[in-house]
Amino acid sequence: MKRLCLLLTLPLFPLLSTNAHAASADARPALRASTCSVRGLMDDIRRGLGSGSPSYQRYLRTLLREAAVTLPDAELRDAFARETEPVMAEHLAAALVARAEREADTQSMDVVAQRALHDADPAVRAATLRAMRRTGALERTGDLYERMVRDESPQVRQEAATNLIEDNAHVYAGQYGPAADTAVTAAVASTDPAVTARILDNLSTEKISAESADRITSLLRSDDASVRKAAVNALGGVPAEQMQGARESLLAMYREETDDGVRKALLQSVAQLGFEGAIPDLQRLRAMDPRLAQEADAWIQVLGMGLQEWSLLLREKQRLQQAP
């Protein structure tokens, strides 16, 4: 009988325990403002990774970056040096980058860059690179990107490419020549065609130097069609001083080019370099390859609208081709 009673009462304990926990969870949390510490923040972030709330995770990430400038420097660096889990290393690297960005620490960017270059784990190298994304790191890290695009890990190389693309687009709005030049140098230095093509396909070359334009031109001879196509795209947007050279290189290339995609890109870049002045060139290219006559005609029609900005011409061409 005693045993029966015990058996009957046993299941009650977990129920009671759950109810007690539920009651505690329903109770209003005793929210209190406190001083931030490296350890406390890292614990919060580690536990927060399991939270179902993206807002909470975003808050913790932002909080660490905001708090970074007043956290003890040595403690932060030690935590970063010891951390081997990529996601946590990324948070700590972002905090160190934030310190450098706000001039709280002149050396912390180097610490992050060295880890990106030398950590044995490619996932940590990739994570550390992500921590530098959409910041001014590109201006403070010398030849880091030239080296990162040659990393043995494809993931790391792609992260480096993403940084170069996003920094140029979102931090510098495509308007800062040295940042674009850094991206071009890295694109040319890479031996991974996917990386080279991706950078050049997504970079504004509006403010690049003559040296960068020459480097891109050298890629027109690449064996890889995706690289040639990206180089052609990039040359379409060069500054006024490089326009004539780019135009001549592209026109000279058209006859020998065998890839349809590259030829299409050539038509577009010739249009971008010449606007309505490119119409005679496009008519000549049209005659060389009847398969692309429709594409050439579309460009000729859009350029004839007399619009004076490339973004508007691109938009109108898209509209034209979507029209029923």
């Binding site: 929210l31 939270s51 510098y172 007399g306």
Partner: protein, 404 residues
């Protein structure tokens, strides 16, 4: 406010090293000649700092005068002095926020969030708005409940509630959008609250004709004030989204032109006239004619500049050049003349040179600038952006930044 004035949240915070990045963004803004979509006339409870390209933290710091206080020599400092090392305020970490996050519900949100809101910690306020957006989800009933709280909420809570609603999936539900609009039209609420409600509609994908009519009639009403300004900005933002997604600009352009010509409030008129430049639709004949009227009849120079900007993307370049030539001859304001001059090039490229030459004959201050344009076109340039980037001085008359 001017077409070229910079949004205050774009200004770098003291001690934060992002000047180059922002300088280039500012340069891009100069080219298009306006950032009015990003500007704010007053607190509207549902701002869109994310659209300004800066981080939320940077915006907060700029708006509050900076979290950090050092970094640069202040007034009275000399250039020889070493700038003091930057000093920063401590961030706030909240005990039990993890438990808050795990257990908060729509039912207990207001009570639980109250101490966090009362602290004035802007980071945690951003979190609360995001968390509330998650709690609302796609449920129009939950969105309606949150909206009902907004009527009586204090200013800080109101901001969180409206920011949460604005970012939610449920705000796209017709029932919620209709309620937001109806509350925004409620004359018993104060202007700031109505502005916040109407601003929360700016994430809509499109406006049906009835909603657009309501917003337009309200915005041009002489007493609409701050809320009318917010309604105008909301129309412009939705137009940009609808135009980019579906190519649909005409009804919004009509609405903005109505406000831009009929509102007695100069700031609202200017906002209505300038915001289409962000969507950059090619003007049809009727819209062109309406902007031509603005160019000759608008009393505010900023409004006339905005009209010139919009007219420079037009289906009839020759007509626009003639219009600019006539307007230049009548125009007394240097900055409007400079707008007519440069936008003639944007409208017609090198074909505008004879008209620009005549402008320079009429006003000799434009002679050296004309020669630069002539040389650039002779060098083989065709497009306006490359031409603009090649100008040695993009602001020869001090018109583009801060000429209030």
């Amino acid at each position: 406010m001017t077409p070229e004035s910079l949004h205050r949240s774009s200004a770098p915070a003291p001690g934060r090293r992002v000047p180059k990045a922002l300088a280039w963004l500012a340069g891009a803004a100069l080219l298009v000649g306006g950032v009015a979509l990003l500007s704010s006339r007053g607190g509207d409870g549902a701002s869109s700092d994310a659209e300004a390209g800066g981080t939320a933290a940077a915006s907060r710091e700029a708006a509050s005068g900076g979290r950090d206080h050092g970094g640069r020599a202040g007034a009275g400092g000399t250039h020889d002095e070493e700038p003091p090392p930057p000093r920063f305020d401590d961030a706030v970490c909240w005990r039990e926020l993890e438990r808050f996050d795990a257990a908060v519900t729509l039912e207990n949100f207001r009570a639980w969030a109250a101490p966090l809101l009362a602290s004035g910690d802007s980071l945690v306020a951003d979190y609360l708005a995001g968390r509330l957006t998650e709690l609302i989800g796609q449920d129009p009933g939950r969105a309606s409940e949150v909206l009902s709280w907004a009527r009586t909420a204090g200013p800080d809570e109101f901001d969180v509630l409206l920011t949460a609603l604005r970012g939610s999936e449920a705000v796209h539900h017709a029932q919620v959008a209709t309620q937001l609009l109806a509350q925004g039209m409620d004359a018993t609420l104060d202007g700031g609250r109505r502005a916040g409600l109407l601003s929360a509609l700016d994430t809509q994908k499109r406006f049906e004709p009835a909603a657009l009519d309501t917003l337009t009639s309200f915005a041009k009403d002489p007493v609409s004030g701050e809320a009318g300004w917010a309604a105008t900005r909301t129309i412009a933002r939705v137009m940009k989204r609808d135009f980019e997604a579906k190519g649909n600009a005409a009804p919004y352009m009509d609405a903005l032109l109505t406000i831009g010509t009929e509102s007695p409030d100069e700031q609202i008129r200017y906002l209505a006239l300038s915001t289409p430049m962000h969507a950059t639709p090619v003007l049809d004949e009727r819209t062109r004619a309406q902007y031509a009227k603005v160019l000759t009849q608008e009393g505010s120079p900023d409004g006339r500049e905005a009209a010139a900007h919009n007219l420079s993307i037009s289906g009839d370049n020759q007509q626009v050049l003639e219009l600019f030539a006539q307007a230049f001859a009548r125009e007394k304001e240097t900055c409007v003349r400079w707008a007519l001059f440069r936008f003639a090039a944007r409208a017609s490229g090198r074909e505008a040179l004879p008209v620009m030459a005549n402008m320079a004959m009429a006003d000799p201050r434009f002679q050296p600038i004309y020669q630069i344009f002539e040389q650039l076109y002779a060098s083989g340039l065709h497009d306006f952006v490359r031409l603009w980037n090649s100008l040695p001085d993009q602001d020869p008359f001090g018109c583009l930044v801060g000429h209030d």
